[in-house]
Symmetry: C2
Subunit: 365 residues, 2 copies
C-alpha cells in the first residue's frame, strides 16, 4: 500500500531550499511513498527541476497561497492565514488525502491548527507534543509533553503515558516500552501532588498489563536512558528541554573558545573540529528530528525549524513510519481501553482501532 | 569582628579527609575567622596534626557522637540521630555560638534539621534552596528553589524572589540584581497558572522599587546568564538541575570515548584531557560550591556531597561572606517589607533587620 505524506514546503527557517531536496532524497529511498508538496505553486514549480523532482510521478504540488512565518502568533495562523501551507498540509490529512503531515513551522501554530482541523481522539482531553532525546545508551528517550499543556491534571499525564507508550511501541518496535514518571526522587513518597496522583494511575495500569510503568525517574535519567519514555507536564518538559539546549550551546562555546585559545597548530584545530562535530552528532542527532503531535485524529510531525535537508528527511521518514505502522490505530485502541465500557467504543474509535499495528519496524538508517 | 563558622566535619562523601584540610586552608586565607569543627572528637583530634591544625588558636572541636550518612532518611536525621555533627553544627548557629553552618551532608536531612532547629524567618512560609550555576557570561546564575518545595503557591515564589534577590545583592555586590521568572515563553500570556499569578506579584514589587523584575525567562536563559537570579518552584528547579547534570555527564562520556577512539598519539590525549578539564572547570566550577538554605533564622550552607578540598573551602568562604555581610539582616528586612504594617515589625524581625548590610563585597578569589 502506498503511504501518502503531505509536506508543508514553506515552513521552517529555510523553506523549500530544505524541504524540497529532503523530499527528493526521501522518495529515492522509499519506493512505496507519495508526497504532496504544499505551498505557493509559483514558488515551488520552478524549483522542482533544481531539486530533481521534475517529472517525478510520486509527487504533486498542492497550492496554498499563504505562509505562516516563525514569528506569526498562533492567532494569525489559526484565524487569519486560512490558506497557509501549514494548515493545508494538515487539512489534507483530515480529508484522507494524506496519512500524515510534516511541517517545520512554528510549534504553537502547528499544534493549534492541527487541533482545530483534526480534533482530538476519543478519550484524549488534550493533545501533547512528544519529542526524542539522545541518551548515553545511544538510543532515543521519548519525552512528553513538551509544552502543549502547562497546567495538567493526573488524568492528562495518564493519557500522555498511554499515547507515548503506543508511539514508542510502534516506532521502536518494542512491545512493552518502559515508562518513567519525571519526579524529584525515585521513592514513591517523593513529588508534588500531580505526580503522586499520576503514579497511582500508572501503577494501576501496570498491574492490569496495559502499561510497563518503571516508576519515578529524575532529570538525569532522561539522558541516561533509564526508560524508553519519560512523562511530564508541558511546563516541566519545556523548561527542561530548553535548559538542556542552552547547556549544549554553552558546552559548544566553551570547547570552541578553549581550542582557539590553547592551540595554534593544525592538528589541534582538526581535533577540536572533530570533537565538536562528534558531540553535536551524539547530542543533537538528525535522526531524532520529528516530534509527534499526539492525541489528534490524524498524524502530524513537527520538524525543528532550523533542520537541514538530512534532518528534515528524517522527519518525513518518521511520519512515513508512523503512517505505515498505524500509530493512530494503536493510540486510539489504547485510549479506548481507558474509557468507561461502551463510551470509548464509539463507532469512530472502533474504526480507528480496528487494525492493530504490527510492532516490528524496519527503521530506515 | 571575628566571624565564627560551624563545620559539620563528618558530612559528605569524604568526611574529615576533605573538611579538615579545607578548614586549614580557609583559616590561612581568612585571618578574622574562627571555625568550630563539629564531629566525633576521637576521630577528629588525631587528624589535626596531619592537616596542620594542631595548636591552631582559631579552631575548637565540638564533640558530636553521631553521623548522618548520605543514605539516612530525613526521619533518622531528624528524630533519631539527635547528636549528629550535622544537627549540632546547625544548633551552634541557633545558640549564637556560630554565625553560619556548613555541611556537605544530604540535602533533605540538612534542610529538615535546619528548619526544625532554626525555624523560619517572620514572613517566610517556606525556606528554599538557592544554588549557583555557571553561565556563558562567565558569571553565576543564582536559582531557587531547587527542591525544598515541590508544590508552591504564588506567594511562595514571591518570597523566593525576595530572599534570592537579597542574597545575590550581598554575595555579588549588586545593588539591584535582575530577577527572572522561569517560564515556557517570554510573553506575559505564557505559562501555567502559578507563574502567571507570580508574575503579577513580582511586577507590583518592581513598580514599588523593591525588586528588579526582568520578566519571564526560559530554560536556556539559565545558562545564558540573562538574569542574576532565576525563580521557580522546587519541582521544576530540581528536575532542571538534575537534567543538566545528566547532560553534563553525557557530554563528558562522549568526549572521552571520542578522543579514545580517534586519537592514538600523545598530543591528542593531552588535548582531550585539557578540553575535558576546561569544560568541567567552566561547567562545574568549585567556586560555585555552597548552596544557601534561605528563609531560616540562621545561615546554613550546603556543600556538594562529593566536593573536594578546594570546593569545600569555597562553601566555607560563601558562609563566611554571608555572615560577614549579614545576608540574614538583609533577607529579614526584605521579608518584613512584605508583611502587613505592624505584623512584620515584630521585635524579632526588627532586631534581625536592624543593621542593613553593605552591598559591596570583596569576594575572595
Amino acid at each position: 500500500m502506498t503511504i501518502k505524506i503531505s509536506i508543508d514546503c514553506m515552513g521552517g527557517d529555510h523553506g523549500p531550499s530544505v524541504t524540497l531536496p529532503a523530499a527528493a532524497s526521501f522518495l529515492k529511498r522509499q519506493s512505496d511513498a507519495e508526497l504532496i508538496l504544499v505551498g505557493q505553486e509559483a514558488v515551488l514549480q520552478p524549483l522542482l527541476k533544481k531539486y530533481k523532482l521534475a517529472g517525478e510521478a510520486r509527487i504533486r504540488i498542492h497550492n496554498a497561497t499563504e505562509v505562516v512565518t516563525m514569528e506569526d502568533p498562533v492567532e494569525v495562523a489559526l484565524r487569519r492565514k486560512k490558506d497557509s501551507s501549514l494548515r493545508v498540509a494538515v487539512t489534507l490529512v483530515k480529508d484522507g488525502q494524506a496519512q500524515a503531515a510534516v511541517s517545520a513551522g512554528n510549534t504553537g501554530a502547528l499544534m493549534a491548527v492541527s487541533r482545530y482541523v483534526l480534533k482530538t481522539l476519543p478519550g484524549v482531553d488534550r493533545p501533547a507534543i512528544c519529542t526524542i532525546l539522545p541518551n548515553q545508551k545511544d538510543g532515543p528517550t521519548y519525552m512528553l509533553d513538551l509544552g502543549a499543556n502547562v497546567d495538567c491534571e493526573p488524568q492528562h499525564l495518564h493519557q500522555f503515558a498511554l499515547m507515548g507508550s503506543a508511539l514508542v511501541a510502534v516506532m521502536e518496535g518494542k512491545a512493552k516500552p518502559t515508562v518513567g514518571l519525571l519526579n524529584v526522587g525515585e521513592e514513591d513518597m517523593k513529588g508534588n501532588e500531580l505526580v503522586k496522583a499520576t503514579a497511582g494511575l500508572l501503577r494501576a495500569d501496570h498491574e492490569k498489563g496495559i502499561l510497563n510503568f518503571y516508576g519515578n525517574v529524575e532529570g538525569n535519567d532522561i539522558f541516561e536512558g533509564t526508560t524508553d519514555l519519560v512523562v511530564c507536564d508541558g511546563f516541566v518538559g519545556n523548561v527542561t528541554l530548553k535548559a538542556s539546549e542552552g547547556l549544549g550551546r554553552f558546552v559548544k562555546q566553551v570547547l570552541t573558545s578553549e581550542f582557539k585559545k590553547g592551540l595554534v597548530n593544525k592538528l589541534g584545530a582538526l581535533i577540536a573540529y572533530g570533537a565538536i562535530k562528534a558531540l553535536s552528532r551524539r547530542l543533537n542527532p538528525s535522526r531524532y528530528n520529528g516530534a509527534s503531535l499526539l492525541g489528534l485524529k490524524g498524524l502530524v510531525f513537527k520538524s525543528h525549524g532550523g533542520a537541514d535537508v538530512y534532518a528534515f528527511e528524517w522527519a518525513i521518514r518518521r511520519a512515513y513510519d508512523a503512517a505505515k505502522y498505524d500509530v493512530l490505530a494503536r493510540i486510539a485502541a489504547s485510549m479506548a481501553e481507558l474509557m468507561p465500557q461502551g463510551q470509548g467504543r464509539t463507532a469512530e474509535a472502533a474504526a480507528l482501532a480496528s487494525e492493530p499495528a504490527p510492532v516490528s519496524l524496519d527503521q530506515p538508517n
